[in-house]
Amino acid sequence: MKAVILAAGEGTRLRPFTNSEPKPMIPIANRPILEYGIDALAKNGITDITMVVGYRKERIMSHFEDGSDWKVKIHYVDQKKRVAHAGTAYALSMVSSEVQGDFLLLPGDNIISPGLIGNLLDSKGKYRLVVTESETPSKYGVVELSGDTVVNIVEKPETHISNLISTGIYKFSDEIFPVIDKVIKSGKYGLTSVLQTIIPTTKVTAVKTSKVWSDVVYPWDILTMNAVALRKCVSQTSGTVDKGVTLKGSVTIGKGSVIRSGTHIMGPVVIGEGCEIGPSVCIYPSTSIGNNVRIGPFTIVENSVLMNDVQLSSGSYISHSVIGEGTEINPQFCAVEAPADVKLEGEFKRVDRLGVLIGEKSVIGSQVSVDSGCIIGSNCRLASHSTVRTNIEDNTRVI
């Protein structure tokens, strides 16, 4: 069977991390989110994948190429017109000529486990939808069932209906395409609308799963999900570890990376390729460090995600933070975690423990300190000795 993955979206709610990286490419434990889904398919023997790409498609194509490294065959379809309201149904309609018979449909920006795909394949029904329980159903499409049949689906309901939500993972047949065309013509672009159209006449089977599925909705979800994914991290060293380095727990060190003496790393921690860490750096659990990252002496990093090409100078403290690709941080930077009210899309959201979220390619001067829960955009320049107490927009110069 073929699988279609929708990976054309931008993921605006994850800004600043999606300013130049599409959401499916956000790294969780040093692997793009999309990789989890592809892996889950491959492990279930599904190797023929059509991927709808759009926003920053080059990042996706350059990473996965033809898929042979993941033992799958990927064919790309470019969703050229990113119409303002283009939704999942519109994206799926792009592949109508590529797909015959039954097929699986997956969102490219969710973490999906092999077990979940297994559940879906093992169940019966022409149309199937994977549903799962959620503590916060109001963020998702909520599903009402009668037995195992889907009777209603409501996007982000304001009143409580049920805790069962749609994962956006389906088994369909090509007969869905004429329905999609009709729905699109009526000016609706979401798959939920398509589903609502077919529910009255066709049985859609709900496949309940308790296997891992998660969606990065807000930028700080990157940290939670990273911590979960890192539990599977193994001890493996392809780089150079100097004498006098302490490694505890599971620590993965990529090729060409150098860990200098006096460094203390407590796993689970994953370190990418070509990094230079230490001397005398402390890295505490649930930290992911991308490729080509440098961390200078006497710096402490805890429960954080440092993306590719980040440079951290000496004497800094970074906890519960996400640092975007290529950001440079000069000496004695301080981002302490604390309970925080983060301002996002004009609303304050409560996060239990959060340090700072910094977008890509920003440059932070020396001795900068940031209040918990602040978001600093991409391409910002912060002068030395600044104290940051609020969010900072992209491309801002703070002097």
């Binding site: 991927m51 194509m61 042979s68 150098v258 390729e273």
Partner: protein, 596 residues
């Protein structure tokens, strides 16, 4: 230059050979053909590229055969001039890459003996010589034939009576042998057969190879057996698929951040080396062709600035004929494939003159890696697009790394300077990524210039060779006439050609030439030319002078060529794509030039 391939084993040879030719197409695509043996000899060939051949080729059964994809040197691209060539009786088939220099005299001699020639090529003499000397053993006939040949060649031949046997030989042009299980391969280049095996033997000059599905025998031209172990090839075929991109060239442009990272990692420029290098030449001479020449030209500025070492750059095809001067420079030869005949000959000339040589090469195991005294590998991976992009960028990284090493060794750079520069180098992948993020904006500019019949590229100092490279890229893939000039030289002649119909692309980054470049931009825009400038991020002043500006991130001036080059690659790519050109296979060109 051409690509050749041979197969013997249990598979249908036709399919193996066609798949292999597909990966060799970068070496030429004027015409293609294959010969298959199954008791009789079947040859099918035609003018045109492989797609054309695949469309019209009939089913051909047989388990050994040879194939060829051609880049014409002697004789126009036409069916008769395509390989495989056959002898008068249609029993022997031969494919050849290279040039037989004494083909005219051999042809006369053979015609006198009654051989009938059907093509205009130099190659055909070889197959008639084989026929002349054949007495039941193709290997013996090959040995006698090679003794008569002058020039460069890699050949593969088969005889219909010798079932399952392929005989090949090499002199100057490359040839590798791939070892399989109950099957064996022969090809111009590793990727052609990498799908089937990673165990390779690189044939050396003056060696003959005889393959059956179970045996591999290497002998020299005198018939003495040679023992050689196979090597495991680490390259993967991954790079050989387009992975969603419209063209290999675009895919390779977008791969550059990773290629840069890998090359820096491999450069040994780190604290582990203790920054102690033994590289102290008094002078340097860089030798290369085409795009590599431009990388070398940028390198000249890097070496002079970082190592204060007088450096000259010469085209390889010219160096060979230059006079020996009293100084003994370090010779740096740059060749992506490591097989570029002109560059190899220049290295040989330099060695004869007693100079030490350093090769900058992308392909591990290639001829130059054996010829040069030492080698710097650019780790760009397999490049398929004929227009060099990621290999060129990694050559710039190589020049930069070597300059830093030389600067430290000659004590012009402190170790702290070297550390600073290497740290800045490590930021290059992300800077290149931000240039790539502007691909859509560059596409819009390409639309503006795609109607032009001629354009100028201006740059000064180390961005002058970048202007040359920008013009070369534009010429080779979009077929628009383009010239690179140093900004200051314009008023000494070419300014006469600047009108409102000649767009000018001007590199005006913030370095010591910035003010002067603004003046040059003024000169051309006063003649009505549309100016696209490449400037440093944050430079709003430039917008007053130029019609359009593309910005690159701020980096040390010495690093700017790496970023400005990427802008020009994208500009050439989008222009060619808008014009509907065959980007990965520009007309008359081929990737590695293994002829003189």
């Amino acid at each position: 230059m051409c690509g050749i391939i041979g197969y013997t084993g249990n598979r249908q040879a036709r399919d193996v050979i066609l798949a292999g030719l597909r990966r060799l197409e970068y070496r030429g695509y004027d015409s293609a053909g294959i010969a298959i043996g199954n008791g009789s000899l079947n040859v099918f060939k035609d003018k045109g590229d492989l797609d054309h051949l695949v469309k019209i080729i009939p089913e051909m059964r047989g388990k050994f055969g040879i194939g060829h994809t051609r880049w014409a040197t002697h004789g126009k691209p036409m069916k008769n001039n395509s390989h495989p060539m056959v002898d008068c009786n249609g029993e022997i088939a031969l494919v050849h890459n290279g040039i037989i220099e004494n083909n005219v005299s051999l042809r006369e001699e053979l015609m006198k003996k009654g051989h009938v020639f059907r093509s205009e090529t130099d190659t055909e003499v070889v197959v008639h010589l084989l026929e002349e000397y054949y007495d039941g053993d193709l290997e013996v006939a090959m040995r006698k034939t090679l003794a008569r040949l002058q020039g460069s060649y890699a050949v593969a031949a088969m005889h219909q009576k010798e079932n399952g046997k392929i005989v090949g030989a090499r002199n100057i042009s490359p040839l590798v042998v791939g070892l399989g299980k109950r099957e064996n391969f022969l090809a111009s280049d590793v990727p052609a057969i990498l799908e089937y095996t990673d165990r390779m033997i690189y044939l050396l000059d003056g060696e003959i190879i005889t393959l059956t599905k179970d045996t591999v025998r290497i002998t020299d031209f005198k018939g003495k057996s040679i023992k050689r172990n196979w090597q495991k090839v680490e390259m993967t075929l991954e790079g050989a698929e387009k992975g969603g991109y419209e063209h290999f060239m675009l895919k390779e442009i977008f791969e550059q951040p990773n290629s840069i990272r890998d090359t820096i990692l491999g450069s040994n420029l780190n604290a582990e080396s203790g920054y102690s290098f033994d590289l102290k030449p008094d002078t340097v001479k860089i030798i290369a062709c085409g795009t590599s020449y431009h990388a070398g030209y940028v390198g000249k500025y890097m070496m002079e600035e970082l190592a204060r070492t007088p450096t000259t750059v010469e085209l390889a095809s010219e160096y060979r004929f230059s006079s020996d001067t009293s100084q003994a420079p370090l010779i740096i030869g740059i060749s992506q494939s490591g097989e570029t005949t002109d560059t190899l000959s220049a290295i040989k000339t330099a060695k004869k003159r007693g100079f030490s040589t350093l090769g900058i090469v992308n392909i591990v195991g290639s001829t130059m890696t054996r010829e040069a005294d030492s080698v710097f590998y650019t780790r760009a991976g397999l490049e398929v697009g004929v227009a060099a992009t990621k290999t060129y960028i990694t050559q710039l990284i190589a020049m930069l790394s070597i300059s830093i090493k030389m600067g430290v060794a000659k004590e012009h750079l402190g170790i702290d300077d070297a550390r600073y520069l290497t740290q800045e180098m490590r930021k290059l992948p992300k800077h290149v990524r931000s240039v790539l993020d502007q691909s859509d904006a560059i596409f819009d500019l390409a639309q503006e210039i795609s109607g032009a019949r001629s354009m100028f590229f201006l740059g000064r100092n180390m961005n002058f060779p970048v202007a040359l490279e920008g013009a070369l890229k534009m010429k080779e893939i979009s077929y628009i006439h383009a010239e690179g000039y140093p900004g200051g030289e314009l008023k000494h002649g070419p300014l006469a050609l600047v009108t409102e119909e000649t767009p000018v692309i001007a590199i005006a980054v913030k370095d010591q030439t910035y003010e002067k470049m603004l003046g040059n931009i003024g000169e051309v825009s006063a003649r009505g030319a549309m100016v696209i400038a490449i400037g440093t991020e944050g430079d709003r002043e430039l917008e007053k002078y130029a019609d359009h500006v593309i910005y690159i991130p701020e980096v040390p001036p010495l690093f700017t060529p790496i970023l400005t080059s990427v802008v020009l690659q994208l500009l050439a790519y989008h222009t060619a794509n808008i014009l509907g050109c065959e980007i990965d296979k520009p007309r008359h060109l081929a990737k590695s030039v293994t002829v003189e």
